[in-house]
Structures are given as C-alpha cells and as structure tokens.
Symmetry: D2
Subunit: 344 residues, 4 copies
C-alpha cells in the first residue's frame, strides 16, 4: 500500500480526490488538511463520505512524511511552500495552476504576477496523461490541469496529432460550464436565484486556461470563450477550427479512433440516430471519461470538435489519480472505474 496525504482537502477538488482515494485499492490515506475545518470529520464537509471514513481534518503545519502528497490548495499557495512539500514526499501531484506552465514569463502574462518559485516549473510534468503518459512513469512531480483547458486539449488532440488542422485559421473554443467550476466558496453570482437557469458568457476571451492550451497544443492563434449554464458538474468544449484542404471525414474518423484506442478514458460519441448522438457532460458526473465527437462541413473545411468531461474528474481529481497511478507503475485506470450514471 502507498501512503498518501492531501494538503487542502476541504474544497471540491479535494473532496473528489478523497472519494477516489478512499476507493482506491492500492493507497492508504494518512492525513487530510484544512485550516478552516480543522478537527471536523471530513464527512461534515463532504457529505457523500459519511460512513466511509472517520478521518478528521488536520493542521497543514503538522503533515508527516508520506509516499505521495497531493496539493489541492487555492491557486498561488503551493508555489509559496513547494520547498517544504518537497521534503515531505518523494512524489507530488499539485492540482492548482501553480506548476502547469513551463515558462515563468507565460505565467506572469496570464496570472498577472511573477511566479515565486520559477525554478520549479521545469520539474513538473503537465498532468494530462493523454499528452504525457510516457514521461509520467518516471516522474516525481506532476501538475494539475485546468478543466477548461483539458476539454479543449482533448477536443484538439486527434486533430493536432494527425496534423489535420489548417494552422493559419483562428481556433474558437466555445466552452459551457457548470457551477462547480467556481469552487466550494460562494460569491454573489453563484447565489442560486442568480445562477439558476443562467446562460452567461462571463469571459469572451482571455481566460487563464488559454495558456495551457497554447503550451500543450502549440496553437497560438486560439481563444477560449466561457459561458456558465445550469448544471453543477460538467464542461462541454465546442471547438471551431479549419482542416487542411483535402482532409476528409475518413481521415477524421481515423484520427479520433486512434485517440480512443490509445487512451482508456477517451470515447467517441457520434451516432446517426437516437438521443445520445453527441458528447454530453451530464452522464459523465463522477466518471473519468472524456467523450469526443466531431462534424466536418465539407463545403468549407469548418470542423466542429466536441469534448465533454466532468470538470472535477478528468478536469481535475480524476486526472490527478490517473497521474498517480502512472507514477506508481499501476494500471492507469485503477480506482477510476465508475462509469457515470444515466439518467441523471
């Protein structure tokens, strides 16, 4: 058994991580920290875990040595203490945005302030197994992923890998998101009477996750547009791009099938009939799948590529556990077997 601890376990990604690790056959949870819920049972904060564990939140200052340390802190905090965490565990998975970008200048550009531990940036592998599986087997430090970035990266992955994109055309990623993306802390816009039934394009461009797509896909001419809609868990990225002249539907099928074959959590959803013809995030709640679909307008080469994920799973804690599995040499699907529900 591998001993793991979680620093910052009271948020939504921390809770999801706890759910996954409690059900994981190869790990033992040693400590879970929370300053604001110190001394409380974790099921008082994560009510789905009642009768599953008697662990209480402990003080982050008193964390012990452990095999794998998960950091699930608010953005900006992990970089302040990374040299301390480094001494506590051989392997670290940080779910925040702190170590996702390899370039300190890019970090400053998108996050608006200098990185406080820039020397650590190159030590972390970007935490999306579908992009960096090979490197993860020998890695000790893995970053988290942005949920919206993940939906875009996976929507683009088959196209980029097969070289099908016309690189001169701008790429528009239209992303629709649920309310859990905002985290466990409420704000005026998340008050239910204001948030229910909403269609709110809160960020037309300039979202920080853009940097992760630019870095990982090598596509500078890209923009992410964020729209809040009424669900709790789920992201759908509807990505508009242009394919190179001559690219056919057959080429596309080949590229998407290759992605689904190479990656256990990628599925293609593209049916002619029925009501489940395209990727939909709602059935993915709690699962680690990324469902991909696409449609090509053969008259003009306009491709619409879709990716649906659960932002707390494939977009955060699910990918983090998958990364841990790869770091530990386990089957990458271990502990991630939940299929999702229907109807829901």
């Amino acid at each position: 058994m591998t001993d793991v601890s979680i620093v910052g376990g009271s948020g939504y990604t921390g809770g999801e991580l706890l759910r996954l690790l409690l059900g994981h056959p190869n790990v033992t949870i040693k400590q879970v920290t929370s300053r604001s819920h110190l001394g409380e049972y974790i099921y008082q904060v994560h009510p789905n875990l009642r009768k599953r564990t008697q662990i209480k939140f402990t003080d982050p200052a008193q964390i012990d040595n452990v095999d794998v340390l998960f950091l699930a802190l608010p953005h900006g905090q992990a970089q302040l203490d990374i040299s301390r965490y480094f001494k506590l565990a051989i392997k670290i998975v940080d779910l925040s945005a702190d170590f996702r970008l390899r370039d300190a200048a890019l970090y400053q550009q998108w996050y608006g302030k200098p990185h406080t531990a820039p020397e650590w940036l190159s030590k972390f592998i970007y935490g999306l197994p579908e992009l960096h599986r090979a490197e993860m087997g020998t890695a000790n430090y893995i970053s988290g992923v942005g949920c919206n970035a993940t939906a875009c990266n996976l929507a683009l992955l088959p196209l980029v890998k097969a070289g099908l994109l016309e690189m001169s055309a701008p790429i528009i990623c239209e992303i629709k998101v649920g309310s859990s993306e905002g985290g466990a802390e409420g704000n005026p816009g998340s008050h239910h009477p204001e948030r229910a039934s909403v269609i709110r394009t809160f960020s037309p461009f300039g979202h920080r996750h853009t940097a992760e797509v630019i870095q990982e896909m090598g596509l500078p001419n890209i923009s992410l547009t964020m729209t809040s809609v009424d669900l709790v868990r789920g992201v759908l990225a509807t990505v508009h791009a242009a394919v190179r002249k001559g690219v056919s539907n057959k080429d596309l099928w080949q590229a998407y099938r290759a992605a689904a074959t190479a990656n256990p959590f990628i599925r293609i959803v593209k049916e002619q009939r029925g009501i489940y013809r395209v990727p939909e995030p709602k059935i993915l709640a709690g699962s680690n799948y990324a469902d991909l679909g696409f449609d090509l307008d053969e008259t003009n080469g306009h491709i619409v590529s879709m990716c649906a994920i659960d932002n707390l799973m494939k977009g955060a804690s699910g990918s983090a556990v998958q990364c841990m599995n790869l770091m530990l040499g386990l089957d990458e699907t271990t502990g991630l077997g939940f299929s999702g529900l229907h109807p829901i």
Copy 2:
C-alpha cells in the same frame, strides 16, 4: 398621482415592488433608498429594470415626505424607526415581519426577542386583502405577509370560512419553496452547487410564519414543515387536515368557489384531465394569483388543500401593492395585471 417612496429597495421584495410601481398607472416613485448601493442606478441591482427608469438609490436618512411609504427592510429594522417613518407619510406599508403579529408576547415567542415598538402593533392591519379587505379601505398602516403563511392561509381560507374543518385534528402544512425566499444575500446553503436539485426539509416545524397562520386562522393545532426545492420563485403549500363528519365534495366545491368569486386573485385549479390539474407555482412567477386546489378522501375525511403562489408577489410585494390600492380607494387589481407565463 400618488407619490410613493421605498425604504430599502435593493432586496428582492424591494425590486419586485419597484417593478410593480414603475408600471402602476396611479403612482409616481419619488425615492428609493439603499445604504449598500447608494448612488447606483437601480437597474444595476435589478437588471430587469434597465431602460425603464433612471432612478438612483438614495440615502435612507434623506427621505422626503410622501403620500405612501413602503418599508422593505430586513426584519427587525422597521420597528426601530417607525416613529420617524410615521412623520414622513400618512400611509405606510411595511413588508417586513415587524408588524404582522398583533400580540407582543406572540412576537417575542416566535422571534426570540422583545418587540421594540409594541404600541404600534395594534395600529397595523395584517396585509392580506383576502382576509382584511374591508378594514383596508380606511387603514393607514398595513403590514406585510409571510410568503409561507400566505400559502397556508389561502389554502385554509375556504375551509375555515365555511366552517368545514374538524378542529380537534392537527393540521400539517407541507410547504415547498424556491430559493428566492432566502433573499438577495447569499449563504453557504444557497451556493448553486449546493442548492441546485435540492430536496431539503430545512425546518420540520417551528418556522416563524406559523405564528401568522395561528393568528389569522385561529387554528392553534397547526405546524408548518418547510422543504427547499429547485426553483427560484414559488411556494406550494400542501395542507393536510380533517373535515367535519358529513362534509362532502359538494360542500368543498361551494366553499372554494365562494373564495374564488370573492377574490379577484384566487383561482381554482382542479381538472380531471390534461397536465394542469393541480396548482403549480411555476406559472405564477410575476403574477399575483393564488391558485387553489383540493382533494377529499371520503373514506376518512382527510382533506388535502393546495395553494400555489409566487412568494415575491402574492407572498410579498404583490399583496403590498394590492393593499396600497385598497388604502387609496383604487381597484385592487390596478398595476397587478400580469398573468404569468407559460411555459416557463
């Protein structure tokens, strides 16, 4: 034209009052106060009023004399300054809970602290026109109504008025409510990821509105059970009681029809077929109707009486405007003509 002002106009009941008064043919809005939004346009807080008015929020300390003053303050504040408001307007409608109960001891029992202006309690008429229409024509001070109390009072009105209830049997009022009941200020439980899709019986008994039902219906043996469900506007009270031996369906129809005939905003919804067979709050959003339905189990005298309202309209600001109309000698439906929407 009657000049009116609103003290405390930035909450949900204040906003609804503004919407109604801006569309009212007989009144002119002079001032609307808000401490927290001082100087802002009211459409920045009530976005539906954009392009309808250029009024800005003013300081409550600088309110001028006016014909009718509406108080839409948080509970407990109107009683502190009532002697000041009394000098500013001949007629006052207070939407808070401060002047709903006639008995200071009852107030202390349900609100947990002594009333600070008990001598004013007897000067206010309880603000439900369906119960106190006659007195309102000559009244100067009218209280608001509790939204949940209103749903119960109107569900019980036909039964009480016709003397059909078996008084020895306990009455269970099962009330399902939307999120706007909690007001414009968020709290941890109103955060969308926590509040969406909820069925939460947050108060099994002991809700403060119980006092208003006891007072107005003269039914001491009653309890209100509150359950939050997923909608923004709307209350449904499903009231369980027993009818006196021998009471028939025909007696009930007569009693409910009498209520609908006597009151322009009461409708009976009781169809044998179709999908609109019972009262449903969702189609009442923005309307002042109270929809009543009932069903009698003839085997045992168990009656289920239902009342659906919009908590911000018939349960608050709509009734307040109706009261003002009656005080001013206007047709009580003036400015309350919106029918509600379907579908919604």
Copy 3:
C-alpha cells in the same frame, strides 16, 4: 378596436400570442383555432390564462373575416392555405418559417423541398422591426422570425449597420437555447430525465435559421452552432467575428448605442462590475427586449457580440405583435410593456 384571430393557437407561440393580445389595449380576439383541442377552453392548454378569458378553441375551417389574422401553425402548413387566408383578412402575420425567405431556391436549399406558394414569398416583409420598420407601416403581409436567427441578426446589426466587420473572415454564431424552442410537443430528447442539466450541441452547423441570417445580414460566410442548455425560455447568441483593421472600442460603443437609441427594445448590457455585466436571457422571460453586449480583443480584432432574447417573445410572438402595431400605425411598444422578472 381591431379584430384579430389566431389560426393554430395551441402551441407555445400561439399561447404567448394569446397572452399578449389579451392584454393589448387596441385589439379584440375573435377566434382562436386548434384541431387537437377543439372545444376546450384555451386556459386548459395555456394555464396562465385561467380567469383571463373564456374563449374556446374553434375549428380552423370555420374562421371568419377579421382585420388581422395571425398564423401560428407548424412549419409548412401556412403555405398550403395562404390563398384562403388571404381572403379572410387584409393583414396577415405568419409566425412560421413559410414566408421568411424571399427566394424560393433558398427555401428549397434549406428546407429540403420546394415551396408550394413561391409567388407569395415576395409579398411578405421579414418580420423583424429592427430591420424593416419603415416598410412595415404600409405592409399587409409580414412573416415571423426564427428565434435563433433573431438573436444572431440583432447581435450583428450594430456591426453591419456601421460597416465595422471584416467581411473576409468567417463568422461563428454559437447559440445556446432553452427547451421551449422545441415547441409544445414532446420528443424522446425532451423527456425531463434526458433534457435536464443538458449541454448538447445538437447542430454544429446547417441549422435552417442560418438562411435568415444570410438573407438579412448579407453575410454568406456564417455558421450557426446550436447547443441545448437547461432553461425553458431564452436564447443567447455569442457571435465571433473580426472587425476591420483600426476599428476601436469607441467605434463599437457608437454603433451599439445607435442601435439602442433607434430601437425601443434594444438595450446594451456592458458593465464593469456587479453580477449583471453581460446579456443574460433568463431575466428576459416574457419581455420583448433584446439585450446586446460586446467585447473586442484589440490584439487581433476578434469581436464577440452577444444577444440575449426570449425565444417566444422577441424571437417569435413579441416581434409579431410589434409588427402588427407598426402595420396598424400604433406605437410599436403597445401591449409589450412587461419588463421581465428578477430574480427568476
């Protein structure tokens, strides 16, 4: 008073039309037809109209002569009987898709079959007052509008009118829609367990409303992408385009302000602070407003223009009544005074 009748009054657009016309000060409703609900009270189908009217549905075969005839039939039916309707009323407003396109070939291309009354196409004015107000004063035949087309057309209107668009760049209209767009008849995908919490990009391109945008805006290089989300009423179009080199934020403000000044139902929603910074359809339920917003990426000329409407109002029945007002020489806002609700 003007006498009006509605052919096909049992659907959602018919119901919304009824609500508006019942509250309209200058018209009297003579007949409302429905084959499937023949003889029923209209409030049994449109429950919000209970206690507002005692009209029953009549047989479409027995419709009398009238001043204005509204046709609210399923697509494809009005064109079959247009020569009959023509004899029944001097003025006709058809809400279906049958007379929106001026070119029979375009109709065939997008609707997949020949138009059965092509000679009538040129007699109809496209029913969006913001585009054809001047012609409507003398018109007798006005078409309806597609709700999604309307959201796109109004998002593009300020840009096209001021000539700010770079015409060579493709335009992507990302449209998020509520469930009432599908009409009153259910289908497997509209079953609540399947439709709730959905984010479903059901049409990546090729939606029929595209033809209306191409025709009215003169922008052939455009695509509409349709995504269902969880609300009942409302459309948000998030339109991605490029502005001409040198176009500044100031130019855009000027163009959008001009549109809001010229059109009583256009509002600009673009705030720096607060939670109502961008257009949101939910507060428009029941109102005829179109809320516009925009954002310019000055680094690359990427403009995101947003338009929120209620699909049953500005996108259907509200615009139809506004057209009738203009045809009759009335103030175009008559009977369309409802501001919308907040919260909702």
Copy 4:
C-alpha cells in the same frame, strides 16, 4: 461466477441494474432482452455504458437457462409469464410491482384488476433487505420494492421496530420525487418545458405504493402524498406521525442508531451545524444509501422522520442487487460500493 440475465433491460431500472452487474465481481451477464431495441448495443440506450460492454439486446423469447434471472418489465407483465421464467432460473428477482403484495385481494384493491398468478404471491419475499434479510439467505424468489414505499418504510422502520409510534394517530407521508420515477418513456407532463422547475402534488393520496407500506409496516392509518419537484434522481419522504406519550429524543436516537448499526446502507444525518444537517437525496445519486433524519416536537409528540434515497438504487435496482447478494450468500454490499457524489 454466477450467470445472470435481465429480461427487460432498456428502461431506467434495467439500465441501472446493468451498470451495477457489469461492475459486480461475482457475476457474468449472459443476456439482456429488449423488444423495442432488439439488436442494438446496450450503450446506445444506456450511454454511460459505452466502452464498458459490447452486449446487444436480445429477444426475450430466446432467453437461456441461467443462475439468476432479473425481471425489469413494465408492471403487469411478469405475472403473465412467471411460469415460463420459473423454468429458466432457480433464482428470480422481479423488480416490478407484480409480486410485492402477499394478498391477491390487496393487489386487486390497489391495482384495479385481478392478479393473473395469485398462487405465486406467497412464494416471493418482499425485496427490502432491511426488513427481510434473514429470509433472503434461503429464498429463491424476491420481489422488487416501490421506490416511494421504500422511502416511507425506511423512515418508519426505527420507530416501528422500537414500538415508539402512537398507533391511533394518522400518519402522513409527504414524498417529493424526481422525474426518473416516471420511467424512460416520456409523457406530456414530462416534456421539459412543463416539468422543469415544477412543484406538482400529482397524487394527494391513493398512490399504489401505499399498499406496500401498509403491508410491511402494519400501519393501516397511513397516506402517501406525492409531489414532483425538479431533479432527476431522488426521493425524500418527510413522514409525520405521533410518538407515544413519554417518548424522548434519547429513545429516538437509540432507535435510529440501532437501524444504522444493523444495516450497512442506512446512515443517520442529523447535524446541528453546517449545510448538511438533514437527509438530501441529491448526493445519493448512484449510491445505495438510505439517509435518515428525525425531529421531535416535544410539546406535542409530533415526530418528523425523513428518508432520502436514490429511487433507481435503494428504491429499485440497488436493493435488487443487494437481495441477489443475500440469496447467493455474498456480502450484501458487494458491487454496491459507490458512495455518491458531492457536489452534484
């Protein structure tokens, strides 16, 4: 490995059963039948199972011998063919209402027609392990449970078992339910624009599940009131009853704790602080837990007992798998380990 087949696998309970059995370590699924989806992959009907199985629906007429046969047919069908199924498997779990009542007269009373296989009624054990665990170890035929009946039965279980109820007082079970209770087939009332945001007391009393509560709890003086609210999965029963004179909160804690100790899927949710103080069904989606809470009004002995479940799990397929486990001598929690999600 135990071979199992499912007759009638295309509905919601069939789909949930498939999800559970595909993840069950001790069973192999042999056949799944569906007349309407014959030959389709099961993931085309249950989209969450994509990439989990390549099984296709087969003809119910061609079902082979098997160890355990699950019948998930519409009510009324299992009883027609029970003598055929009896020959196909030693053990049968029927999820429909056909074999839940022991008394054919009771069946006729509540279902309005005579049972066609009354001789089979006494052979089936009522399928709630919390009530009949001991008998299940040697049983071959187990019925399903009504989801609403289950929420009531479990809310009442601690009170009945400890003999705390005042038997002369009527019991009111106020049940709020999600849309998946209606099954996979849509109807006019389940069309999203009609069903979203609904609070609809569709059955004030007389619901068929009442018979199961009467039979299992021995409480004839009971009524079930059904109200639809806006969520997909979940039931909350808020049960109003009276306790015997002298019963204290301590007695109640003892009774509820005994139930939670004796039953692995019963949890007590009763906190003083925080936002998870009472049972809520939404966090139970996909889990087999029944969360119980209670509150006693000591002034009058009014007890409110609450039970939240997922209607497709503890209220149907989850309990069915738990029964199978007990019949096969396995740990009753096998294959039912999913904890539920938060937030959702």
